[in-house]
């Protein structure tokens, strides 16, 4: 690390400018909205303080939505990163057809969310779906359930679809991180340590830890703010079984035209996601956020 005595504006301003442009005013506006009563049908936007927040939190959907969002995030982020690491480790090997597998892994990435939702609706469809079809063929018909319309499995099914959409990105970045490891380090480790698990724990994992932290943060954010899969797969139902906080922002704002309440939910989401980020970076300390 070298020290520069003044702010390196020529290096940073071009990158900061678009981000600042797309955040300062919009976030300020959203914050203002969350403190005012902004409804499309009523003229005037009186200041109501924290009333919107109070109204949202005491609403009967809130606890369900909060729980669903937390469950989805706690399920998706670790699973995506773990599966991604396993797949990336596996795909580093060369075997017959490895090129094909490496390409097919990227498929879920190429599809916009709305389309992934359609494909997964088809997989989970109670009568035409491939999942129930396969279960029946295998003689396991009693396990065939209405995946997306039964309250017990709906959130799980949406979670599987969400994980599917996020896997390729994790694989790409982890393969890049794995390949960046100095080959001499790996050779030395292969000599010193016979157990592949120990080799992973003591040699490979520390090398890719920073990337894993980045991916955990990114995936926690993605899972906590996703709404398009839910919108297209279940519409938040059955009941409140798949209602997510992020989906509720959309519903309050664009379905009930209560923009104040929508923004209030959004800032509740901000606080919780910030807590996620802090928790992840505290649990897995890496040099990523070090200031020196």
């Amino acid at each position: 690390m070298w020290t520069i005595n003044r702010y390196p504006g020529t290096w940073l301003i071009p990158a900061l400018l678009p981000v600042v442009l797309m955040t300062v005013y919009p976030i300020g506006h959203a914050l203002w909205t969350s403190l005012h009563e902004v409804m499309l049908l009523f003229p005037g936007e009186p200041f109501v303080g924290l009333k919107n927040y109070e109204r949202v939190i005491t609403n009967n959907y809130f606890l369900d939505a909060l729980r669903n969002s937390l469950v989805l995030t706690l399920m998706a982020a670790p699973v995506v990163v773990t599966l991604g690491t396993l797949v990336a480790l596996f795909l580093q090997r060369r075997f017959f057809g490895s090129q094909i597998v490496r390409s097919v892994v990227l498929l879920p990435w190429v599809l916009p969310g709305a389309i992934s939702a359609v494909l997964w609706v088809w997989v989970f469809h109670p009568s035409f779906g491939i999942l129930n079809g396969t279960l029946r063929e295998l003689g396991l018909g009693q396990f065939a359930v209405d995946w997306l319309t039964s309250p017990r499995t709906a959130l799980f099914s949406v979670g599987v679809a969400h994980i599917w959409t996020q896997i390729p990105f994790a694989v790409v970045l982890l393969m890049a991180a794995l390949a960046n490891i100095n080959s001499e380090t790996l050779e030395a480790a292969a000599v010193d340590c016979r157990s592949p698990f120990k080799r992973f724990a003591y040699v490979i994992f520390p090398e890719i830890k920073a990337m894993i932290v980045v991916l955990l943060v990114y995936n926690a954010l993605m899972a906590f703010t996703t709404y398009d899969l839910v919108y297209a797969m279940t519409g938040g139902g059955p009941g409140t079984a798949t209602t997510l906080l992020s989906f509720q922002i959309w519903r309050e704002s664009f379905s009930m035209y209560d923009f104040g309440a929508g923004s209030a939910v959004a800032f509740i989401v901000v606080v919780i996601s910030a807590a996620f980020i802090v928790a992840i970076t505290k649990a897995l300390p890496s040099d990523l956020f070090a200031s020196d």
Binding site: P8, L12, W109, V110, F259
Partner: protein
């Protein structure tokens, strides 16, 4: 790579990965090749009927599939939106390429400075970048729309490109700085002894050494823009500028549209993008595995 795996285990693992990631897409390919009435008829299948390319023909030439010209057929099952897919694909690719190039051009220098230097204001700028994507995009839709209207960018690709670039940049910078940090410090020290300026350190040392990683990051920026839906819908105007995610969502939400036409649309949208992504990805993997960085 050190370590060997039993061939059968390799095969099994590869099969599982293929099934999970490729399975749903394979279903869509299957659906696009058979008309609906065969799809929902358990006694007939692709094997008994042979592939049917009528819906592909419809998308590219506008000639209606024969199966929908029969008397009992429901004309609502054909949607004009399917015909917009090829144009939308071009729009999305242009947007995504622009967002990718902008992300790398603007993000890489910033990531380099963050990874290698200490300077006043570093913490606050980095924190701002990390925390800015916390606010869910849904909550920012209205103000961003108003801003774009004020700037006169509604209905042009520039508005979409600007928003997509800004939304991907924090992650681009974060990811690239992880890669730049992994370059051994000795290489930079040697370059400094050779009187390299800061820009030369970046352009002649850091960038060439992490080219494959930059490719992977560029792929991320590309895909984030390519698959983004909400801002694409709000900021695009008529069918001429609509990105593929918006066209596909319109097709998918229309419950009347035939499965095979929808799947045809999906498949036409997948293939060119997948080819593009795989080419970049192969370069990334090959470059990385051949050991571009020798410490």
């Amino acid at each position: 790579m050190p370590g060997r795996l039993h061939p059968l285990l390799t095969f099994l693992f590869a099969g599982l990965i293929l099934l999970f990631t490729g399975g749903p897409v394979l279903l869509s390919l299957y659906g696009s090749l058979v008309p609906d009435r065969i799809l929902f008829d358990s006694s007939r299948s692709l094997l008994t009927e042979g592939p049917n390319f009528e819906t592909y023909r419809y998308v590219f030439t506008g000639q209606l599939p024969d199966s929908y010209l029969q008397e009992s057929a429901n004309r609502a099952m054909i949607s004009d939106a399917a015909r917009q897919v090829p144009q939308a694909l071009v729009n999305s690719t242009v947007n995504a390429l622009a967002a990718m190039v902008l992300n790398l051009l603007l993000g890489a220098p910033a990531a380099f400075i963050f990874a290698r230097y200490v300077f006043p204001g570093k913490k606050i700028s980095f924190l701002y970048l990390i925390l800015s994507p916390l606010v869910p995009a849904v909550a920012l839709v209205t103000p961003i729309y108003m801003m774009m209207q004020w700037l006169g960018l509604i209905g042009t690709p520039f508005g979409i490109i600007l928003v997509h670039t800004a939304r991907a940049l924090p992650f681009t910078i974060l990811i690239l700085s992880v890669f730049f940090r992994r370059i051994p410090a000795e290489i930079f020290e040697a370059a400094v002894l050779d009187h390299c300026s800061r820009f030369q350190l970046f352009w002649r040392v850091a960038v060439p050494l992490s080219l494959p990683s930059i490719g992977a990051t560029g792929l991320f920026a590309f895909m984030l823009s390519y698959s983004e839906f909400m801002f694409g819908m709000l900021l695009s105007g008529d069918a001429e500028t609509r990105p593929v995610s918006v066209v596909m969502a319109a097709l998918a939400r229309n419950t009347d549209v035939s499965w095979s036409l929808l799947n045809t649309g999906i498949f036409i949208a997948i293939v060119p993008t997948l080819v593009l992504v795989v080419i970049v990805w192969r370069f990334v993997v090959e470059g990385l595995l051949s050991g571009a960085v020798k410490g």
